[in-house]
C-alpha cells in the first residue's frame, strides 16, 4: 500500500515538474482519496516549496532594500515595520488583535497583518516546521475558498488565530492564482477597496485584463519569488523585477506609430499608456471618523480608479525617503532617468516633537474611540520608546507627500498621443521637468508632430 502511494506520489511529482497539466491541476484523485492536510499535501508534489515560500516577501512582509535613501542596508523593510502615512500602522505596532470595546460595547479583530497568509500564531517572518505548516496555500491557489473560514478567533490559550479553509473541496479547486486570489488582499489594502493604488484590474479598466490576462502572467513567480516593478513606495521585493519591456521590447510601436519608439529611451511606457490614476488622494490619521458600525476609521479622501490625473517626474528607480516625502530621484541629465507617471498621495499623521520623525500608530485605540493620540502612545510603547505618554501628548500633526508608481490601468486606445503632451496646454509640464523656455517653445510647436498626425488622420478616416 505504502509503495503504491509512494509510486503514485512520485509520478505526480514528475507530472507536476513537467508542467503537463492543462486547466486542471493534477493530483485530484489523491486529494479526493486522502483529503487535504494543509501544506503537507502540497509538499507531496512540490517538495521544498513551503521553505521557499517562508523566505518570500509575501510571508516576511519585508526584504533588504537597496534603492531607497536613509535606510540601513543590513536591515529588512516592508509592511512589517515601515512607518509612513498611507498605512500609519504596520504589522508590529498594529498587530492583529481584538480591539477595545467601542461606545456601543462592540469589539472586533483587526490589524495590518490580517492579510498575512499564515495563521497568525505563525506570523509575519516566522520560520521552522510550525510556520511551514501554517501556510494558507489555498487562499492564493483555490478558486473555491470559503472566506467564512478565514476569520480571526481566540484559541483555548487566548492566542488570536486566523482561521483557514483547509477543506478538500477548496483543495480540489487549486490552480495558479486568479485575479480574484490576488485581489483578496491587494484590492482593499490601505483602508478600503481601491484606496491604496487605486486601480481595478478588469476588462473595462485595463488592456491586459481585457485580453484575459491575470496578475501572475506579468508578476510571474519562480519559487514564490514574485517580480515587482519599481514603485517608489513599494520597497520590499523578492529580488526579481518586472517591466513592460520584458514582453513588449524597447521598440514596440509599428507603422505610423513607429515614431513613438524615439521616445522610449526617455519616456516610460506607463507615461503614455496609463494616462489616469485613482484611489485615495489624502488621508488624515490625526482625525478618525465614526462609521455606521460604531467604529472609527482615519478620515480619507477617496477617488475612483481613473478619476485623477497623474503627475510626471524623472525617475531613475532610486527613491528619496524623508520624513515628509517619499518619491522618485532622477533628472533629465543623469543618463538613467525616464519620465514616469505617479499617483500623488498626501497623508497627515503625528511627528515626534523632539526628533521630527514620523510616528506610527496602533489602530486599536482610535478605531474603538477615535483617540488618535492613544494609538500613537500604544505604538510608542510597543516599539520600546521612552515616555510613550509624553511622546503622544506632544506629538505634532504634519503632512507627508508620497509618490505611488502608476503601473496598472493600462490602455492602448486611450493612450496619450503627440498632442496630449506637445500641445501648448499638454499634460506634461516641461518647465518642471527641467526644460528651458527655448526648448519648450520647440517642444510645443506643431512642427514636431504635424505631418505624422496628418498621415494618421488620413488612415483613420
Amino acid at each position: 500500500m505504502k509503495l503504491t502511494v509512494t509510486i503514485s506520489s512520485a509520478l505526480l511529482a514528475v507530472l507536476c515538474a513537467a508542467g503537463v497539466w492543462g486547466a486542471e491541476h493534477p493530483g485530484k484523485s489523491e486529494i479526493e482519496k486522502n483529503g487535504y492536510k494543509g501544506p503537507a499535501t502540497c509538499e507531496e508534489c512540490h517538495p521544498g516549496t513551503t521553505k521557499g515560500f517562508i523566505d518570500s516577501v509575501h510571508w516576511k512582509h519585508a526584504s533588504k532594500v537597496d534603492n531607497v535613501s536613509n535606510l540601513d542596508p543590513k536591515k529588512e523593510y516592508g509592511m512589517k515595520n515601515r512607518i509612513y502615512t498611507m498605512c500609519n500602522g504596520n504589522d508590529i505596532v498594529n498587530n492583529l488583535k481584538e480591539i477595545p470595546k467601542n461606545a456601543e460595547g462592540k469589539s472586533k479583530f483587526t490589524g495590518c497583518n490580517t492579510c498575512h497568509p499564515g495563521n497568525h500564531v505563525s506570523d509575519v517572518g516566522s520560520t521552522g516546521p510550525e510556520a511551514e505548516n501554517a501556510i494558507d496555500c489555498l487562499v492564493c491557489h483555490s478558486t473555491d475558498y470559503d472566506f467564512r473560514q478565514r476569520k480571526p478567533f481566540k484559541n483555548e490559550k487566548g492566542q488570536v488565530v486566523m482561521g483557514q479553509d483547509r477543506s478538500t473541496k477548496a483543495a480540489l479547486a487549486i490552480a495558479k492564482p486568479t485575479v480574484k486570489n490576488c485581489m483578496v488582499c491587494h484590492e482593499a489594502a490601505g483602508g478600503g477597496v481601491l484606496v491604496k493604488r487605486g486601480f481595478s484590474f478588469t476588462k473595462e479598466t485595463d488592456a491586459h485584463a481585457a485580453k484575459g490576462m491575470v496578475c501572475v502572467d506579468c508578476h510571474k513567480a519562480k519559487n514564490h519569488k514574485i517580480p515587482t516593478g519599481f514603485d517608489p513606495n513599494n520597497w520590499a521585493n523578492d529580488g526579481v523585477r518586472v517591466a513592460c519591456t520584458d514582453c513588449h521590447g524597447e521598440k514596440p510601436h509599428k507603422g505610423l506609430s513607429a515614431a513613438y519608439n524615439n521616445h522610449t529611451s526617455k519616456i516610460a511606457c506607463q507615461t503614455c499608456h496609463i494616462p489616469r490614476t485613482g484611489g485615495a488622494v489624502a488621508k488624515d490619521f490625526t482625525v478618525w471618523e465614526k462609521g455606521g458600525d460604531g467604529f472609527y476609521e482615519p478620515t480619507t479622501l477617496k477617488q475612483e480608479a481613473n478619476a485623477t490625473a497623474p503627475v510626471y517626474a524623472w525617475y531613475n528607480k532610486t527613491v528619496r525617503n524623508e520624513q515628509h516625502f517619499i518619491g522618485p530621484n532622477g533628472s533629465r541629465k543623469d543618463g538613467k532617468s525616464k519620465i514616469y507617471p505617479f499617483k500623488i498621495y498626501m497623508g497627515k499623521a503625528f511627528y515626534d516633537k523632539k526628533t521630527g520623525n514620523l510616528l506610527s500608530m496602533d489602530f486599536a485605540p482610535p478605531m474603538s474611540n477615535g483617540n488618535a493620540r492613544a494609538g500613537v502612545e500604544s505604538a510608542a510603547r510597543t516599539l520600546g520608546m521612552k515616555n510613550p505618554a509624553d511622546i503622544a501628548k506632544n506629538a505634532v500633526p504634519g503632512w507627508q507627500t508620497i509618490y505611488f508608481g502608476s503601473n496598472h490601468l493600462v490602455t492602448k486606445s486611450k493612450a496619450l498621443n503627440c498632442i496630449n503632451c506637445h500641445g501648448v496646454n499638454g499634460v506634461i509640464n516641461f518647465k518642471d521637468l527641467g526644460y528651458s523656455d527655448k526648448e519648450i517653445k520647440k517642444l510645443t510647436n506643431p512642427e514636431i508632430y504635424f505631418n505624422q498626425l496628418i498621415e494618421k488622420q488620413k488612415e483613420d478616416w
Binding site: 490580517t114 488582499c185 490601505g190 483602508g191 478600503g192 462609521g291 458600525d293
Partner: protein, 108 residues
Amino acid sequence: MKKSVAVMIVFALVALSVLSFSKVASAEEIKMVGVITKIDIAGKDAKTATATLKDNKTEKLVEITINDDLTLDKFKDHRIVVGDEIRCKYEVIDGKNVSKLFRKTAGC
C-alpha cells in the same frame, strides 16, 4: 422695463435649468452607506442577488439588486457577508434599486 423683463426671463431660465438638472441627477443615482442585514442569492450559478442594507443616516432598510459578477462572486465565497458595512450607489430601474457600486468600506 424691457431690460428688467429680460433679466427676469434669464434668471427664470437659469433657475429652471438648475432645478431640472438637480432632479435628473438625483433620480439617476442614489448614494448610501449602510450595514448588510440580509443577503439572498440562489446558489453558485446565480446571476443576480439582493442585499438589504440598513442606511446609516436614515436607519431605513433598503433592498438592493446586485447583478455585477465581481460582487456576486464576493457573495458566493462569503468575502461579503451580513454585518459588513457597504458603500453603495444605485439607480431605480423598473421599481428595483439596481446596484452600480457595492463595496465594503473596510480594508486592512
